[in-house]
């Protein structure tokens, strides 16, 4: 233990002091590059991360031992090998992913090929570029902080190479770079807010720019949603214009699934055109949704959207089954305004032909369920009664709600209804729809999200992947499509409150949610999470969604009505100059602190110069005084001047005791005496 500590100390010593400057600077640069490359380790193929680390370590080893750099002949095969690896992993050299991978490898290789001073700048600039590419993958506050640390590290390394003789310790250099960073920050904010924005992309966004996030897919099979509910990732955020509707009304409609193959639910291949007849009652709800990038075309709206929202450059259509589909996958966070009716009557006059699509079932599945349906049908002829009977069965028999249901075989619905009786929403919704269809009631699965969490800090409702849900819709004569949530029959809490509340405590181990049993520290934690979410949301709303439109809106709110390009250019120049001046003035402003005695001495010299007796550059006060004794000044002036100079000499060069004694005379302070003498010398 002791010897380890001693060894660590020696190494530290060696690192801190023993290393010559050139070496420590290079190691610092390597560290900065490692920091910059680090975030890429999460998504680069593992061989690329390993190769980059190995190259960095190799360079570090060379530096530490003062070995020679590898010759180009040795590097060339390495480069060729790495390029082959890139091709093997991506199948192309084009595109974003392959480009990022090559860039990271290039930076690592460049470090092994640093010879001239110019190469330092090449490495630095490459590092900044690599930093930019990390934002393809994550633009959270955490990645912003990591990137800031990267910028400071690279700046420190760059600065370290600029020192000549004196090389301050690392801590001082780090502080100098941080100071530079902090001084630059306000100006960067001004530029960010006011720099004229152009709507991208400049050229076609490559296909791989679309990021596949986690989220609802447009198919459903047992397990697909329950898996999703493990993710605390945010699906979207909502701000209501008025008060938020009650949690039980928060059904966010997503993909509607009508085709069943015995296991998987998928959308109907070609839904026949149906009437768009909606009868909305009550006050429509207005809200704004900020949807995270999902890589899919679905948009979410409260049941039931009154119309398609508007998206720039990406028209949205409302499907016959009232799901919202954009033309392009949602590749970045978007925001849209939507209107919904919570109380509605949907397609009550639908034709039988159109409805037939929603009654298809694959033959040869679930014989037990068919048998059960026949018995049900015999008991009641009323569709509504049948729905209620099934819900009652779910409610009263020992059905369980669980995230870890047993796996089901070929006759999944049979097994679920009569054997396992344990499932998650996709089991209940799927089984319910199958049962309804056997009963000749048109039915479909609706997937989406249910609920959401209202953040008390900023008033946004946050809907997470864990709120993913599936429910059913049945078509009843005279009433149209009616939402039925069979899960609610089993676990009413799921709908009324939230998912984690519906699960028995302990059923899910250390589930991330902070709901459930309330305790004082849970309340605190929850508040903390609300705050963090509010910060994240503000970051998204203000930083990441600062689009040209938002900039326009912001400038208009500042009173600039028509912010065209040139106005913005002038604005950014003016503000930029003002902020630069504000930041830089303390840097260059400097008042020469002049001693009052010196100031008076200067005045006397000016005065005497005016009278034709300038002080020579080499003359001190004593020499000057001696020369002035023989000058042609009038006696009384000469007396004053000589007295002044003598007093000045005493103040400036006399011992502290003498000056102290002077202070105690009855002619006032020495400075006052000087002033008097100066006046007399005129």
């Amino acid at each position: 233990m002791n010897s380890t500590a001693a060894r660590v100390a020696t190494w530290r010593e060696r690192l801190m002091r023993g290393l010559p400057r050139e070496k420590s600077d290079t190691l610092l640069l390597l560290g900065a590059c490692a920091l910059v490359m680090m975030p890429h380790a999460w998504h680069l193929p593992s061989w690329a991360s390993l190769a980059a680390s190995a190259l960095l370590l190799w360079r570090g080893w060379i530096t530490f031992h003062g070995n020679r750099m590898p010759p180009r002949l040795l590097l060339l095969p390495v480069v060729a090998l790495l390029m082959l690896g890139v091709y093997a992993s991506y199948g192309t050299y084009l595109g974003r992913e392959a480009g990022v991978c090559m860039l990271v490898l290039l930076l690592a290789l460049k470090l092994l090929e640093m010879r001239a001073r110019r190469d330092l700048f090449v490495v630095t600039f490459l590092s900044f570029f690599v930093l930019l590419t990390t934002f393809f993958y994550s633009q959270t506050i955490a990645s912003a902080l990591l990137a800031s640390a990267g910028v400071i590290a690279v700046l420190t390394a760059l600065m370290s190479f600029q020192y000549t003789g004196v090389h301050p310790p690392l801590r001082r250099r780090l502080m100098a770079a941080s100071q530079l960073f902090l001084l630059a920050a306000p100006l960067a904010v001004v530029l960010f807010v006011f720099f004229p924005r152009i709507q991208g992309p400049l050229w076609g966004m490559p296909q791989d720019a679309v990021r596949n996030g986690t989220g609802l897919s447009d198919s459903m099979e047992p397990g697909s949603i329950s898996e999703l509910t493990l993710s605390p990732e945010i699906a979207f955020r909502v701000r209501f214009s008025d008060a938020a509707p009650p949690p039980s009304a928060l059904y966010w409609r997503g993909p509607v699934l009508g085709h069943y193959d015995g296991r998987r639910w998928t959308p109907l291949a070609s839904a026949l055109p149906s009437s768009r007849q909606v009868l909305g009652r009550g006050k429509p709800v207005h809200y704004q949704v900020t949807l995270e990038a999902s890589g899919r075309r679905s948009l979410f709206a409260l049941d039931l959207p009154a119309g398609p929202p508007q998206l720039e450059n990406n028209p949205v259509q409302i499907q016959p089954d009232f799901q919202l589909l954009a033309s392009q996958p949602i590749s970045q966070r978007i925001r849209y305004d939507a209107v919904s009716s919570l109380d509605y009557r949907l397609q009550a006059n639908e034709s039988a032909v159109t409805l037939r699509d929603w009654m298809d079932l694959p033959p040869g599945y679930n014989p037990q369920t068919h048998e059960f349906a026949t018995r049900l049908r015999a008991r009641s002829a009323n569709d509504m009664d049948l729905v209620n009977a099934v819900l009652q069965m779910f409610r009263e028999q020992n059905f369980r709600y669980t995230l870890r249901p047993p796996t089901l075989g070929r006759h999944g619905v049979d097994e679920f209804l009569f054997a396992t009786r344990a499932g998650f929403c996709e089991h209940y919704a799927g089984a319910f729809v199958v049962l309804m269809r056997i009963l000749d009631i048109p039915a479909r699965v609706v997937t989406g999200y249910q609920g959401g969490e209202l953040n008390k800090v900023d008033g946004y409702l946050t809907v997470r992947q864990s709120d993913a849900h599936a429910w059913a819709e049945v078509w009843l004569a005279g009433r149209g499509w009616v939402r039925v949530d069979p899960t609610a029959a089993v676990a009413p809490d799921r709908v009324e409150r939230n998912l984690s509340a519906a699960l028995a405590p302990g059923a899910f181990g250390s589930f991330w949610s902070l709901q459930g049993p309330q305790g004082p520290w849970l309340t605190v934690l929850r508040k903390l999470r609300d705050n963090r979410d509010a910060i994240d949301n503000a970051w998204n709303q203000w930083v990441l969604n600062y689009t040209p439109a938002k900039q326009r809106g912001f400038l208009q709110s500042l009173g600039i009505d028509n912010p065209d390009w040139s106005t913005l250019a002038i604005l950014v120049m003016t503000l930029g100059a003002a902020v630069t001046a504000l930041v830089a003035l303390p840097l260059i402003r400097h008042r020469e602190k002049t001693d009052p005695a010196d100031m008076l001495y200067k005045k006397l010299c000016q005065e005497l110069a005016r009278q034709g007796l300038p002080r020579a550059a080499h003359e001190g006060p004593l020499a000057y005084r001696k020369r002035l004794q023989q000058s042609g000044l009038s006696a009384e002036r000469r007396l004053a001047v000589l007295g002044f100079l003598e007093l000045y000499e005493t103040i400036r060069y006399g011992s502290p005791a003498t000056v102290d004694a002077l202070r105690r005379t009855r002619y006032g302070t020495p400075i006052q005496q000087l002033k008097t003498l100066l006046i007399q010398s005129r």
């Binding site: 934002f135 633009q139 912003a144 600065m159 000549t164 991208g200 720019a209 630069t580 840097l587």
Partner: protein, 325 residues
């Protein structure tokens, strides 16, 4: 033509005038700043980052771009501040011989509360080798630096124009300034390389055997530092016993024994510079051997003597012969 035009531009743009007497402060009008080559490359990088952010709609890409741009702007201020308001004073400049390097001492004083790092200083001008020295000046501190300029001709050598520049802290921008101090160095003639022996021979020859005839020998006196070993009066020293007292022989200035370094006495066929060069060598040699010498050159005429001040005035006369200033 271009030369004069450039000169005019320099004078106007960089405010280059004659030599400046005394202390000079590099105020903001004297410090110029432009991007370096890496700085220009950095600007290109910023464009690239901007276009990338635009195309991929990376809000934080914009953030990074603007932050780096701001860093460059702040670095501009820091580079400027690194050089501006520096106080410059000429220091000592010791005489040298032609063919040697003249040393000009410069005092840089920093009256600000921050360090100034990596300021490069060097002489600039036609035919001057591009040699620069870096220096760091502590907060409220001073730095003394000696710059070398080749001294080719005897006479006064004025300090060439000095250029100070720095690209600290990031190397993206370079601030520079010029300074022409009023500082000069006296350049002595180059001592002749294979000069004939000192013109002492004939004087000694006349005396026949060694040291001093009766007429000239004036007695002995206590040894003084600088007396030649040859003049030690060994007989007297032996007689005085071995209490360690040294005495040296003292000669009265008899013409025959006096060594004269005289311009006019040199062969008329030699050209002036060659004669000055030989006289320089002789002065140095006489000093080295501790032999007093009389010196005559034009209007300068010094009686026989030895020592620093004598040497100095002789060399000065040699340096400035024909160019009284």
């Amino acid at each position: 033509m271009t030369q004069t035009l450039r000169g005019a531009t320099d004078r106007w743009l960089f405010r280059l005038h004659g030599a400046e007497r005394g202390e000079v402060v590099l105020n903001q009008r004297r410090v110029f700043i432009l991007p370096t080559k890496p700085g220009l490359a950095f600007a290109a990088l910023l464009m690239l980052l901007f276009v990338g952010s635009l195309n991929y709609n990376l809000a934080m890409g914009y953030g990074l771009t603007f932050l780096l741009l701001s860093c460059a702007l702040i670095a501009m201020h820091l580079s400027f501040r690194n050089l501006a308001y520096l106080h410059l004073n000429p220091g000592r400049a010791s005489p040298v011989f032609a063919g040697e390097e003249a040393q000009f001492e410069l005092h840089l004083s920093n009256r600000r509360p921050y360090w100034r790092h990596a300021i490069w200083i060097g002489f600039t001008g036609d035919g001057l080798p591009a040699r620069e020295q870096p220096c760091d000046i502590p907060a409220r501190g001073d730095c003394v630096i000696a710059l070398q300029a080749p001294a080719t001709h005897r006479g006064w050598l004025a300090a060439p124009r000095i250029r100070l520049h720095t690209s600290f802290p990031l190397g993206l921008l370079r601030a520079w300034s010029y300074w022409q101090p009023e500082q000069k160095v006296l350049v002595y003639p180059r001592p002749e390389d294979h000069a004939p022996p000192l013109p002492i021979a004939e004087a000694l020859m006349n005396e026949g055997h060694g040291i001093g005839g009766e007429d000239d020998f004036a007695g002995v006196r206590a040894y003084q530092t600088g007396d030649s070993m040859k003049r030690l009066a060994w007989r007297q020293i032996a007689r005085l016993g071995n209490d360690g007292t040294l005495v040296s022989k003292h000669f009265e200035g008899g013409a025959a024994s006096e060594m004269r370094i005289d311009f006019a006495a040199l062969p008329a066929a030699m050209d002036t510079e060659a004669r000055l060069s030989r006289m320089t060598r002789w002065v140095l040699e006489a000093e080295a051997r501790g032999m007093p010498y009389a010196f005559r050159l034009g209007s300068a005429s010094h009686p026989s003597a030895l020592g620093g001040a004598h040497r100095e005035s002789c060399l000065r006369a040699l340096a400035l012969y024909g160019q009284e200033a």
